[in-house]
Subunit: 344 residues, 2 copies
């Protein structure tokens, strides 16, 4: 069977209506609201065809139709008209950059908040992934007692700080020399390149305090391992309650529990790192708990280095056109902002 023009029109009408109402859509409704000069009976025939083709289904015999994931896929790829942002939305998004903070984590936090505020969906943003950035500076700072703070500054302005123990007989001059040496050695390398071999080289020069030096290396490698698991920022998790399909307490619980598991969210989002906006619909998703949700996401970057991922999660009947346009806009402007901050 062919997907003729009229079938497409009807399909679009069903999707549009279902997205905003959440109720199964009947032939009469289509005829009345989206009337295109054909009677309900004709629409019924077409809908019956669409059902056979897998684009619609009925929750029970005497109910209207609901779009399938396949229908949403078609909708997102072909039917949907990309919607412009309203002036108010663009204005609201600008807030992110007006604080002019140079701390990338703060920016990301704002992004999560703004995304969920504007769309009323749940937002997820992955913090910058360390393996993509360059080391710019390494510094050991003495702290009260026998501790020192290991600070690594990167091209993305990210700071990883770890506290390490320092032998009593080491003075701050020595710490400075170590810092300079490390900086010289690892400047403009990625964390992935901080391997043990190159560390051996440095180590030769530092036999004097071998034990201490080892602990610095430990802290450095550990800090890499730890940051492999990036921070996950959430926004508007309780927005899910706005959707009638989550009136069911068990569903709401499943959703929120999933959102609490940061590692799942991480692996969910981190797997898509191509530019542009990616939409994952319902069962296309590999996690059982997300089979009734869709994700609209994009990446953000500094220059052309992809740093992380941001996205919106909502029911499959989400307003894709709004979600896509907002996500795209925020992704692009954040990238621009971060690039202007850290790349000159």
């Amino acid at each position: 069977m062919q997907l003729g023009k009229r079938k497409l029109q009807i399909l679009q009408a069903v999707i549009d209506d279902y997205i905003c109402s959440g109720e199964p859509v009947g032939s009469r409704t289509i005829a009345k609201k989206y009337g295109m000069g054909i009677s309900p009976a004709t629409i019924r025939n077409e809908m019956s065809d669409l059902e056979e083709m897998g684009y619609l289904h009925q929750p029970h015999t005497s109910a209207g139709r609901i779009p399938s994931d396949k229908a949403y896929r078609l909708y997102v790829d072909k039917l949907m008209k990309i919607r412009m942002l309203t002036a108010a939305e663009a204005e609201y998004i600008k807030n992110i950059y007006e604080q002019r903070t140079a701390e990338i984590e703060k920016v990301i936090e704002q992004v999560a908040r703004v995304l969920s505020d504007i769309t009323n969906y749940t937002s997820v943003v992955l913090g910058p992934q360390l393996n993509k950035v360059l080391i710019k500076h390494i510094q050991l700072i003495p702290v009260e007692g026998q501790y020192a703070l290991l600070v690594v500054v990167t091209s993305a302005g990210i700071i990883k700080d770890t506290i390490i123990r320092v032998p009593a007989d080491i003075d701050s001059g020595y710490l400075n020399r170590v810092s300079n040496m490390l900086t010289e050695h690892y400047r403009d390398k990625t964390f992935a390149e901080v391997d043990l071999n190159s560390i051996q080289d440095v180590q030769k020069e530092m036999i004097r305090q071998k034990e201490f030096f080892n602990s610095v290396v430990d802290a450095l490698t550990e800090s890499i391992a730890q940051k492999e698991q990036t921070e996950v920022y959430l926004g508007g998790t309780t927005n899910i309650f706005n959707f009638p399909e989550y009136r069911d307490i068990m569903k709401a619980k499943a959703f929120l529990s999933f959102m609490e598991q940061k590692n799942l969210l991480y692996s969910l989002l981190s797997k898509f790192d191509k530019k542009g906006v990616t939409v994952v619909i319902g069962t296309e998703n590999e996690y059982e708990q997300m089979k009734e949700c869709s994700i609209v996401m994009t990446t953000y970057s500094i220059g052309d280095k992809v740093l992380g991922t941001m996205g919106l999660i909502g029911p499959t009947r989400m307003e894709y056109s709004k979600a896509v346009s907002v996500v795209r806009y925020v992704g692009e402007t954040v990238s621009k902002y971060l690039t202007s901050l850290f790349e000159e």
Copy 2:
């Protein structure tokens, strides 16, 4: 009317039963389960008295009784037997300290997780409050381009880092000198003592780069203002779904929305800073949204300086004896651990 011994026994039985069942308790139940050689009829009479005195109430005429907040108060203050931690619980709590991390935020994060895991309630932990700690070291670290990182190390091992702009003509030697000067000036002072007057003093010595120096001062004072609002760590927010009284979607939503508002949680917890465990029951609470919840909380400290607050939030019929013992134990051991780390 007097609260005789038998009335107390009955009251305790009602509370115990209601805490674990969540269902109104009838006279028969009491007679059977907690049988103290009296008949249901007698118990009914006593319960009627207890109701008159405000300790019990009935949701409707032909239902069992439910303890009032006043009853819980009495229970917590007088009736409750403090329960010992089980070996497994104590073992589980030890996990917090075994990573031997010296980063206080990491410890706090663990505390939130462990508290909610053990008790199945929602845990809230306020991060360390900066106004209680002493400045130990201030350092400006050059970053790629025209930025520097302002790091403040305190007696609690807390690091506040802010990125500030640096004029192009400033070299790292100069940054070091500024750092040393600031450190010398503010060492062992609290953030509250970093007032503008004393900054004027320093400023005199730094006329050379007045503009730059101002931005450092700005960052410092701003970092104080910002950290006034401490981080709030949450654990087990979805545990609330385990309680039948939160089957109602609106209640669950109200609860979770409240938990999303970190500033409310902050003002809720930060107001109690006396040592020992504090229990706030239902309507004793000043926030409308918390009127059906109880909070069990304590403080944690380094030495005798109180740093922050940790607590458990659950329905008023929470297992106070368990909550109190766990919170007390965790609070004490965390304080010990932090003290051993940072105070010598």
